[in-house]
Assembly symmetry: C2
Homo-oligomer: 158 residues x 2
DNA sequence: TATTGTTATACTCTATAACTATA
DNA sequence: TATAGTTATAGAGTATAACAATA
């Protein structure tokens, strides 16, 4: 036991929980011959008419330079396509192709089912509680991140 | 097509929560000039006398080939050192150097404090509930992972 | 001038397999 | 034969900055 630590060690487990979960989720995604960022793009585009690079990057937390490469690889796989924006000549819309839509509709429920195996011993109420807990956590992280970036903006001069 | 999703879309938020959290945690770790896997090694080695590659890989979910590179980079930074095992000629023990211990003792509490900013609006009971929820989730993921593949990772409780 | 997306660079992580040296 | 760790390889993501086209 780490009794020397003055901070709750359970928070170390929080980090480990996230890591373990991501590793588990990735093991399914890799069976689709996709990376986690690539699958993230697919499910973000799912059930939309297309999203431009700027918004897509904000939603997936992938910076623009990286996003160009990720989208190009998905394009090479025939899963997404670039379409010029009609309202802004600088902007490119990223859409799922028909193959991409097929993949999304086939694998997203499959992915959720894979995730659901985790919850064998959970009651429906347990799952609802977990989802509410995580949603609140997500909002709290976003709030903290906002405060952080404000501080970073203030510190940009070093 | 709107009824195509038979699974709660809230689980999509679960993925996003993990991602958002990791991104937030990474933003602090990067200020230490460390990557997330490197920091993971540091906090795993913290308050231990050293761990060999095999166990270290199991704890951090980094495969051996990758681990060699990660440890070498940390060695280049003077934060860890390799020590030959006295009982097994094949085995290398990885330890924090004095600089590594300093870093750990200075930054782990700092990291937890950074994480704690998320919980501004949480009561102590809320935090306890969240920790219990996540610990249960972690155990459930490990159980699902065990069922999924034959290569079981022996988890040591802390 | 500011913004959108691309290109270029250098680094790190990842998975995999072949390899060595011990056991 | 099996195991612990290294090396080699190819691919992918990351941050960062410079850049072109458009607003």
């Amino acid at each position: 036991m780490d009794s020397a630590l003055t901070f709750p060690t359970a928070l170390r487990e929080l980090l480990r929980t996230h890591q373990t979960f991501l590793s588990y989720a990735a093991s399914h995604v890799h069976t689709l011959d996709l990376t986690l960022p690539q699958f993230d793009i697919i499910i973000t585009l799912g059930n939309t008419a297309g999203i431009n690079f700027k918004i897509l990057g904000e939603k997936t937390l992938i910076t623009k330079g990286t996003l160009t490469g990720v989208i190009s690889r998905l394009e090479d796989k025939g899963l997404v396509q670039r379409v010029a924006s009609e309202t802004d000549g600088r902007s490119q819309i990223v859409q799922l192709t028909e193959a991409g839509k097929d993949l999304y509709q086939r694998t997203f429920p499959e992915h959720l089912a894979f995730i659901y195996r985790i919850f064998n011993d959970y009651s429906p109420e347990d799952i609802a509680t977990l989802e509410a807990t995580l949603l609140r956590l997500r909002k709290a992280v976003i709030a903290a991140r906002s405060n952080e970036s404000e501080q970073l903006v203030e510190e940009t001069d070093q």
